[in-house]
């Protein structure tokens, strides 16, 4: 039996709703929310499972979802207060949900799917009051499994994971932080999400400050560096900065209408 290649099955323009892909409640993301989060804007909400979880954890929380997949958006309407079926580049929040003060923005596994995540972050920033919390999760391309595969000559796209075939941008811990800082956010914390057992399968020897895989020997400087090799994803905890940081290469004016939400 042969399986159809992933580009045939997972790059179709009209994606079906896949419960395992779109309906995956992210308990570990909810763990970063320890206080009532205010109005939650869940961009790329999928089937709304994580929003539902947050509503259960903090009853009364209003969650607004934005989702590009119509089937997933329809499904999310069962769980969330408002769901806007639109892309992040086109969505006009005020038109859809009226003026509302956003307390927390979720960008879970979204930015890596965008051709221009910098512009998207800049656009989102205009909707937010200074200090508004942004929680994002983004895959870590420096994952040891990925490094080993690449060293062995493989860069194999799949239906999900770090090399999900629908990913178009790749980041490391450093470049991820820089993207947020350049687009108007202050990063307060970055936490690696690790799957030690999974990565351990690729490690054939450990020496002080060094990991050895089949094709690679990698030095790490400290615990943080080691965790970086084990992380398949980072959770970025950021706040909308008070003023755009003077990075010298401010984003160009946005095309189309921008609706600030007060």
């Amino acid at each position: 039996m042969t399986t159809a290649p992933v580009w045939q099955t997972h790059l179709a323009s009209d994606l079906a709703f896949d419960p395992q892909y779109h309906q995956n409640p992210r308990a570990e993301i909810a763990s970063f929310i320890n206080e009532p989060p205010g109005v939650v804007l869940d961009i790329g909400c999928g089937g709304g499972a994580t929003g539902k979880l947050i509503k259960e954890k903090f009853p009364g929380t209003r969650v607004i979802g934005v989702e590009l997949n119509r089937n997933a958006a329809d499904y999310a309407r069962q769980h969330l207060d408002d769901v806007v079926y639109a892309s992040i580049d086109e969505v006009d929040l005020v038109q859809h949900v009226g003026e509302v003060t956003i307390g927390t923005v979720l960008l879970l596994d979204v930015l890596e799917h965008l051709y221009d995540p910098w512009r998207a972050l800049t656009r989102i920033r205009t909707w937010l009051a200074a200090g508004t919390r942004v929680l994002a999760s983004v895959p870590n391309i420096r994952n040891l499994v990925n490094l080993q595969e690449l060293a062995a000559g493989a860069w194999e796209y799949g239906p999900h994971g770090v090399l999900d075939v629908t990913h178009v941008r790749f980041f490391t811990r450093t470049t991820l932080r820089r993207m947020f800082e350049e687009t108007g956010y202050a990063v307060t914390h970055m936490e690696p999400l690790t799957q030690p057992a999974w990565v351990d399968r690729y490690v054939i020897a450990r020496r002080p400050g060094k990991l050895v895989t089949k094709s690679l020997s990698i030095a790490f400087r400290n615990r943080e560096d080691l965790e970086d090799l084990y992380a398949f994803q980072y959770v970025i905890d950021a706040r909308a900065a008070t003023a755009m940081q003077d990075s010298g290469n401010a984003a160009p004016p946005l095309a189309g209408e921008v609706s600030p939400i007060v």
């Binding site: 970063f32 057992a197 002080p208 400290n222 965790e227």
Partner: protein, 532 residues
Amino acid sequence: MSTVVAPASRNAPCPCGSGRRYKECHGAISGPQEATVVARRSTYRAPGREWAHLDEAQRDEIGVRMEQALAMQKAGRLDEAAREYRAVIAVAADTHDARHMLGIIELGRGNLDEAEHLISTAMALRPTYAAILHNWQLVRDACFARARAVPEQLAEAALPILVDLALGRPAARRSDDAEAVPAARAEPTSVHLIGRVHAGDHDDTWLLRRLAAILDPECTIWAADADGTDEFGARHHKRVDAETGAVPRGGTHVFVGVEFDCAAWIGRANADRVIVFCQSGAPTRYLDQLRAIASDGARPIDLVFASQAVAERFGGGHTVLPPPLDFERIAKLSSEIPPYDERLMEMSPVWPIGIVGQNQQSVSEPTDGDFIFNLASITGRLHVYDPGRLRYLLGGSASARFFARRDGALEPFLGGLACFVERTGKWWQDTIGRELYGAMAFGVPVLCPRRSTHAECIEHGVNGLLYESTVEARQLLSDLRQQPAMAVAIGRAGHNTMRALLDGESQNRNYREFLAGTPRPGAADAQRIKAA
């Protein structure tokens, strides 16, 4: 006629209690007492042909058992649920849900072989069910982790022997060697602290900082890291390049967490004396290094442990120094917030229990998930410091709050607790005890496992509580909650223990004396800990 449900075999005794076989009593074919069709009591039915060999009455009976078992499992009554599942499997071996759910219970209990068998057979029955596949993956991950852990278990028994071999002499004779202190020890020499400066809040780095603060300005710090080292100031700080860089000549070389080829370093430095702080957990990591350091036999080596319990497992005569927790800083911080009894009133009715999620020394899966779930259910509030994988387990729970491990995050965590529960795995994975000792210093009552290496500074019911089983821990916690006066008294006694153990001046003196060469036999120190 009362309802009688048919047993599995028609030859079994009749459930009506007549003493006759079922087939001769209520099950008699065409007899006047033929079993009536029973009213349906359960809605659960296994899919496909799993129950094809059973009649409707039997299915109803098993359906009731399954529903009860699922309810028990949900309520955390795992023993009872497991019994019910086994009963179901005995009658209908192909019930995939029973196998799957029992497998999950066994997985939680750490019975991996049993769990693997149950879940794999459930998967064979229902190969397309995603939930079974997911849990099968969990079992495989756990089996894989166990396969890796085996050498560690072997190491446990072999450790003292290995250390003796590494040090090239019977460790038990160490304490008698005080007379034969080499000349280099007699006069104070320069002290070099060598370690890694990790970003963030890390046990090794924390110890290095504390030692530097105690010894300043008598020591030089050699940090094996490119970043994060400026905080010590340029005067005392140098960058280590173990292979090619400059090394200091002579003097006392103190290693805090050995993670590079220090044998070459020591050889080139011609060190007078070598001290290795094995305090920060997982001292097995050091064995290769210790063996390498000791291979030339040219200089004395001191191993320092944070507790008598660990020191003894490494053989006799090693040095025990309590971790240099900055008690004064904590005492100052805790005086800035209301005392524990007032904090307790402010928290009320919430009664947060604190735990540390991730053991820094081994990035390991939590194997005590049931216990942690139970903790969360006792008082409805669990605070988790450095949660690690517990984010997945508890993230969606309304009762859990999470505190990422970073500089300055420990104190707010400790200040918000009604009680702190220490967890422990393998003794060599016990951490330096900073969170436990910190909680005691904050006047927060603590629960500590009896087998933890930190239990030696706790007297049960006086300055803390010791528990054997998780059931006992639950009981102690509800007692503590119902008796705030006891909680306050235990917290206060714990605070006093830490004040005595970690008194800043005597702590500094102990460390200075030790580093200057005055031998400190471990046993006496243990007495001191007990007395405190």
